[in-house]
């Protein structure tokens, strides 16, 4: 059985409908009207133990709501969720022992206490043995560097320190599932790298199941092996990163900087390579093709033979391009056979 199983999961909430201005506010006070907003619409999702799944979608797509439904914080309007065989909302306390979650813009640490005290409180709440707890602190010191600010009150930590501290707090009880809601939002590059390295290690070495939402597409390629895209409360795509790359991110672009270019039509030299598009940009010859249909060495060899190339550069379309095209509604993954 899957570690996380959602079936026809729905969450709707009410939003007050208020006409603008004072009169609108008064009218709303006398006769309130509401509109039902659907945040999650019939979501089917199944995550196996040990999977790292990235959950992406534009702002307001329903990502965070889904995470909150899976953690048991919110009760579904309809549909079912099972996490490790339990209903996470009804059996919230039992479920909480096996999972952990961090939310990029919130902290579960006690604002007034030194970080060390906050972590010790979690140790007591989860009844973690002292030896295991010390081991955990050492790991977090080594990889996240939290030892440097263990005695500082949480309210004095920088964002980067706080996010690392929150991750250390989430893992005190050695959870089986770690939900991450925008774990790298607002962090500098060095901290991001550190965080991703830690997540990779947790995933590969400890076999932690990690569902994560993000807007930073490097999080996906670095940590996850599966991609779920949602928009407007609905699932648009669910498949492995490899599938996405092979299906939708096949364009490769080679750029050759040429000494004294003649800017002649390159079609002649490239004949026989397969379907390529080539054009001059100043003194650079740009060749684009499907990397599965055309062999890059063949293209390169022909260009090098025909011209005096001083430099060249290769770029593949990445997950970022695919996601961007989906957001912009230029690519429908389901229509192109994306739904496995």
């Amino acid at each position: 059985m899957a570690a996380i199983e959602a079936r026809a999961l729905c969450k709707a909430y009410r939003r007050p409908l208020r006409a603008p201005g004072l009169s609108g506010s008064v009218r709303h006070l006398l006769r309130p009207r509401h509109q039902d907003i659907v945040a999650v619409d019939h979501l089917d999702l199944s995550i196996e133990a040990g999977e790292a799944v990235c959950y992406v979608g534009p702002n307001g797509a329903g990502k965070s709501t889904t995470i909150k439904l899976l953690t048991g914080i919110l009760r579904p309007t309809a549909g079912t969720v099972r996490v490790l065989g339990r209903d996470p909302h009804r059996q919230r306390v039992a479920n909480a022992r096996d999972i952990a979650a961090t939310f990029g813009n919130r902290s579960q640490l006690n604002w007034d206490l030194p970080l060390g005290e906050s972590l010790a409180l979690l140790r007591d709440i989860y009844a973690v043995p002292q030896g295991r707890y010390r081991q955990h602190l050492r790991t977090c010191a080594d990889i996240l560097g939290i030892d440097a600010f263990l005695s500082a009150p949480v309210r004095q930590l920088s964002l980067g320190q706080r996010v690392r501290a929150d991750l250390a707090a989430a893992l005190v009880h050695d959870p089986k599932i770690l939900y991450l809601d925008e774990p790298t939002v607002g962090l500098d590059i060095a901290v991001k790298e550190r965080l991703r390295a830690f997540l990779r290690q947790l995933h590969r070495e400890r076999g932690l199941t990690i569902p994560l939402t993000t807007h930073d597409l490097a999080d996906i390629e670095d940590v996850c092996d599966r991609l779920v895209i949602i928009d407007q409360a609905r699932l648009l795509y669910d498949g492995t990163l490899r599938q996405v790359r092979d299906r939708f991110a096949r364009e490769r672009v080679l750029r050759f900087v040429v000494r004294q270019p003649d800017r002649a039509d390159p079609a002649g030299i490239l004949a026989g390579c397969g379907p390529v598009r080539a054009a001059w940009e100043g003194d650079t010859l740009v060749v684009a093709f499907d990397r599965l249909a055309v062999e890059s060495p063949a293209v390169t060899a022909r260009v090098l033979r025909a011209m005096d190339v001083v430099d060249f550069h290769l770029a593949d379309a990445g997950i970022a391009d695919v996601v961007r095209r989906v957001y912009e509604r230029r690519l429908d993954l389901a229509e192109e056979g994306g739904q496995p």
Binding site: Y13, S64, K68, T71, G72, I73, L74, R75, H89, R92, V93, A94, A96, R97, I99, A100, A101, F103, G104, N105, R106, S107, Q108, N110, W111, D112, L113, E117, S118, L121, D124, I125, Y126, A127, P153, D181, E182
Partner: protein, 265 residues
């Protein structure tokens, strides 16, 4: 149990972080108790008794009322409502502890940190300055009974505060709720006006309500107005209300937790 003890003790620690707040809290309780004294002192001008209470009995009753009102730090209410309003409550919901149990542990942690020491100091000053002539308990039994009733009252009031803070899940505004709750509790429990001063019929009804257990019951046991079986039954009623309000809080929580919506990440 260890988890709840840990929560209470961390709340105690975090309340100690703010020295200024602490001192200010003591100052404002002192001002309040003095104001109450002068108010009722004027009321007794030219009279020897109101509704059968002498000035000394009234002073004693009010002092017990003041004690009961300040033992439960209402900061726990503000903290809880604030976390519901901002959505930080989701972090509380990630912990493997009962929500009500955790909030009551926090409230008791605050009592230990703020209620008790602030009260001891304030009481010492207040007794020395204004409340000279406060009556001793009417007997050892009365002292013990009053202590039990007062302790039970702390739990009862915390349970009332918890239930009223939960209403924030529907209104997302807590100031109005907290003020109404405080005004209602303090008026109906006797902390502002001894219940005996209300018209007889009203007083009789108020003594059946949960609020009386907070102040009126311990004060009357202390003064020897409730003795023997009557005192025992009054404490039983208070205990029954405590259980009922705690249970009501759980029912309310079940409804509230279906209501939770946390927006914006």
């Amino acid at each position: 149990m260890r988890a709840y003890a840990a929560i209470a003790s961390r709340q105690f620690q975090s309340a100690l972080q703010y020295r200024g707040n602490y001192a200010l809290g003591m100052l404002s309780s002192l001002a309040l108790v003095l104001a109450m004294f002068f108010f009722w002192h004027a009321g007794f001008d030219g009279r020897s008794a109101i509704a059968g209470y002498s000035w000394a009995q009234t002073k004693t009753y009010l002092l017990i009322g003041y004690l009961s009102a300040n033992l439960v730090a209402t900061s726990s209410e503000a903290r809880m409502s604030e976390s519901i309003r901002t959505g930080n409550v989701l972090c509380d919901l990630l912990l493997p502890v009962d929500f009500q149990g955790a909030r009551l542990s926090e409230a008791l942690g605050s009592v230990a940190a703020q209620g008790v020491p602030a009260l001891l100091v304030t009481l010492a000053v207040a007794v020395a300055v204004a409340f000279s002539g406060v009556l001793p308990p009417s007997g050892i039994g009365a002292a013990l009974g009053a202590a039990v009733a007062l302790g039970l009252g702390v739990v009862l009031k915390s349970a009332i505060v918890y239930a009223s803070a939960l209403v924030c899940f529907w209104t997302t505004n807590y100031v109005g709720i907290a003020w109404s709750r405080a005004a209602l509790t303090n008026l109906l429990c006797g902390a502002l006006v001894p219940l005996a001063f209300f018209p007889a019929g009203v007083a009789a009804v108020l003594r059946w309500l949960p609020f009386a257990g907070i102040t009126d019951t311990p004060a009357r046991i202390y003064l020897g107005q409730l003795v023997g079986v009557h005192a025992f039954l009054a404490v039983c009623l208070e205990a029954a209300w405590t259980v009922a309000v705690l249970f009501g809080g759980r029912v309310l929580w079940r409804a509230a937790s279906a209501q939770v919506t946390i927006h914006g990440g």
